[in-house]
Amino acid sequence: MPTSEPIVEVRDVVRCFGQVRALDGVSLAFEPGIIYGLLGPNGAGKTTLIRVLATLLRPDRGTVRVAGVDVVADPTGARARIGLAGQFAAVDEFLTGRENVEMVGRLYGLSAAETRRRSDEVLARIGLTHAAGRQVGTYSGGMRRRLDLAASLVGRPQVMFLDEPTTGIDPRNRMELWELIEDLVRSGTTVLLTTQYLDEADRLAHRIGVIDRGTIVSEGTADELKDAVGGAVLQLRVADDRREEAVAILRRVSGEEATYLPRERHVRIPARHGSRTLLEAVRALDAVGIEPDDLALHKPSLDDVFLALTGEAATHALTEQEPQEP
């Protein structure tokens, strides 16, 4: 693990709205220079946490430090070091792209000359130089989103908070935004983004915190989270009269206990060594003349992780499949 100070540090944060505990003791910390993905279903507390981090909401309890600044004690100091892009493109349609960026620059406290210089940089970077003089009302949805996401870059924030940056965006624009976010991090900005899309977290986030009902229920890299749910699983179907024989062979090959799913008539067994286990299993079955049907090697997806951690129905499904230690 890196030795640098955490750039975002959230400790035991509680925030209630009336009777609802939107944040119920959230703690997380991460180092600068990464994309931290906050993954959770609707209503899990993602937006509330972003709002607390971005000084829009005060926590009822707990401490929040961003770039070394306590956001409750020194909100202005924190604001000077962060950038926020919310769920809706909060750009002004009646202003040009350039005017939008320049306004944000002036509100970061930049001089007029510095604002102009940095606005040029920002607009070039998000590929909107050609459209900078046009009113945002004429922009496509993707252009607006890019402008919204990047407007705060004019203030050179150390941390960017992005609340569901690609929600409601078509696939092509989504790729562009992903590239923009990766580009940001390459140039030294730290990013915390919320998402309910697993592929987005998988693709972008160096670290993922899974949030559900106001607490972080699991944290790690995408791979660590997948491992926690279980490694790869070999799944196949064989003729009923040879099933017991096949299960015995698979048990020998993988060294683990097999599970039978009667409804699908599938045999599942953990495949520690992935495709090597698959090959060995196929050879061993072939040697005794068993021809497997529907043969597949399943790597758990973040979907499995997500459902395992946040959904009750999914948890039941998984216990049935969970590898059992010998």
Binding site: I7, P32, G33, R51, A54, T55, L56, L57, R58, A67, T76, G77, R79, A80, R81, I82, G83, L84, G86, Q87, F88, A89, A90, D92, F94, L95, E99, M103, V104, R106, L107, Y108, G109, L110, E114, R118, E121, V122, A124, R125, I126, G127, Q135, A151, S152, L153, G155, R156, Q158, F161, E176, E179, L180, D183, R186, S187, G188, T189, T190
Partner: protein, 287 residues
């Protein structure tokens, strides 16, 4: 988008450009926000159209439809022309309706997440409200000026002095600024832009019509007259008429200076109470 080498990278150690709010930065922020809000008025054609056509329509309709029937009941200070009586009243009516834009604009910004963006920036909190009210004051000044051009065109003549006329305009604008704070409070409490539209006109219509804006209050039933004579819109309208038409335009028993003083008291009171309430509503609305 492939500008990975763009010189925006600063690592994570640089000092921020602004770490605290000073008076100078609050003034600068107010101007930035005011400019933004004014551009909104200029750039959105439908806003511009409504803001300018509506007052002129009121002026023409009231003057030519009601004028002939009303002239007989006007005090002689009106010079026998309804337009002279009408213009000071319409300045107040336009200012009152115009202040409603403060509520609608704020609710719109809240709704679209613009206020969230502002609040996440190291800017003066107060600038969101002061920038808004100043912009609306400037817009209102422009609308009233335009209405005056048409008013002069169709026969309005002040009966006192140019200075008196200007003082009346100034008083009207001050009143519109005070009302902007009241409207800001409404906008921040109601929040939903569609609902704000109706919420704004709920208090505005009875206040404007049960007043001396269009007609002398003398013919109203006594219970209504008691209300009409003492509510701020009548008081301010009377002060404007005193300044533009002379003391003869005021109801018996009132003086120009008295009306001006009472007006200033109302303006100060409304501004104080509602700027406090608006700031409170702003905090509530966003937390």
């Amino acid at each position: 988008m492939s500008a990975a080498t763009a010189p925006l990278s600063e690592g994570s150690t640089h000092e921020p450009d602004r770490a605290r709010i000073t008076v100078a930065s609050a003034v600068s922020d107010t101007l930035v926000i005011a400019r933004r809000n004014l551009l909104r008025n200029v750039r959105l054609p439908q806003l511009l159209l409504f803001a300018t056509v509506q007052p002129i329509m009121f002026l023409l309709l009231f003057n030519f439809v009601f004028g002939g029937a009303i002239e007989g009941v006007l005090p002689p200070a009106a010079g026998g022309n309804y337009i002279n009586w009408l213009v000071p009243g319409l300045i107040i009516q336009i200012s009152t309706f115009g202040a409603g834009q403060t509520a609608i604009g704020l609710a719109d910004d809240l709704d679209r997440g613009v206020i969230d963006r502002f609040r996440s920036l190291p800017m003066a909190r107060s600038a969101v409200l002061t920038g808004r009210t100043f912009a609306d004051l400037a817009r209102n000044a422009a609308v009233v000026s335009l209405m005056m051009v048409v008013g002069f065109g169709i026969g309005f003549r002040y009966q006192t002095s140019f200075l008196g006329f200007l003082a009346g305009l100034l008083l009207g604008l001050l009143f519109s600024y005070a009302l902007s704070w009241m409207m800001a409070t409404i906008g921040l409490y109601v929040k939903t832009p569609e609902a704000v539209q109706s919420a704004v006109f709920l208090p505005v219509f009875p206040l404007v019509f049960a007043s001396s804006v269009f007609l002398p209050t003398a013919t109203m039933p006594s219970w209504l007259q008691a209300f009409a004579d003492n509510q701020p819109i009548t008081v301010i309208t009377n002060a404007l008429r005193g300044l533009m038409l002379g003391p003869g335009a005021l109801p018996p028993g009132t003086s120009v200076s008295g009306a001006i003083l009472t007006s200033l008291a109302w303006i100060a009171g409304i501004t104080l109470v509602f700027s406090y309430l608006a700031v409170r509503a702003y905090r509530r609305a966003v937390d």
